[in-house]
Amino acid sequence: MKMVNAFNMKRAAAGLRRINLDGLRWRVFDAKGQVLGRLASQIATVVQGKDKPTYTPNRDDGDMCIVLNAKDVCVTGRKLTDKVYYWHTGYVGHLKERTFKDQMAKDPTEVIRKAILRMLPRNKLRDDRDRKLRIFPGSEHPFGDRPLEPYVMPPRRVREMRPRERRAMIREQKKAELQQQKTDGTKKGKKREAPEESA
């Protein structure tokens, strides 16, 4: 992955010539601990320029978006193993697939990039908007000398847990407490580790 990182850096700085205006701001998004889709929708609004009062639909006026810590982006539910990316190569019968986990292992920036691109309107400006996105798996980026502005995500309303999930969580907590109490003496064969919640 370090090889890929070095390559990314050079490529990231290179494509800047094609973007005309530099009255644009440089917004920095930190993906650490953010839920994938919610982050992507915020980025999509910024990249389209929809948070500016001078929004014009036929002109691409979005800000440059830099996304850091792409490998730390989170996903709820069972999506880590169950979310599958499909694509068809064009040849008959060649529908390929790859799970979220494998994609993260291969190239974590692609996950966020796909999420954002699929949220942008499919028109002629989509490619230009793609060029304005720079995604980095870690927290280093070659744009340190630019005037960067961190983006504060709006507060998230987490819905309260469904009753079954809550009961399961309470059961696990109680088991964890009981195990801690029983540290001395006999341990029966009921060693079930409390399953880790996907972060």
């Binding site: 929809k50 948070d51 500016k52 009062p53 001078t54 929004y55 639909p57």
Partner: protein, 119 residues
């Protein structure tokens, strides 16, 4: 009956249409049959889009107002619907176009108005 040629009657008619279509691209300004078709299409589009234009601009103003609201006035309200509701309640005759233009050019004015409206 003697033979009568049609003369230039059809040509007169087509010349008018050709004048209309004179700035179109390629065959659409050169070939007679396509010229008549393209003129009809152009007029149809113009007619239809005169109404669409009104819709389009209204939607553009609403987008812009939303952008301004979301960015600045987080303390007060996040919503376009709230702002407009308050405008109606306060019996201001501002329409969306003016509000959107105010937001671009004179942001402070809009903020002052919004402040007064909420309370």
């Amino acid at each position: 009956m003697t033979r009568i040629k049609r003369g230039y009657i059809a040509g007169k008619r087509r010349r008018k249409i050709r004048l209309f279509t004179s700035s179109f691209r390629g065959a659409h300004s050169r070939l007679t049959r396509t010229i008549t078709q393209q003129k009809i299409k152009a007029l149809v589009s113009a007619n239809r889009d005169r109404d669409r234009k009104k819709r389009g601009f209204r939607s553009l103003w609403i987008h812009r107002i939303n952008a301004i609201i979301g960015k600045n006035k987080k303390k007060q309200y996040n919503r376009y619907s709230n702002l407009l509701y308050n405008i109606y309640k306060g019996q201001l005759l501002l329409n969306r176009k003016i509000v959107a233009q105010m937001g671009i050019l004179k942001g402070n004015c809009l903020r002052m108005i919004a402040n007064e409206i909420i309370t």
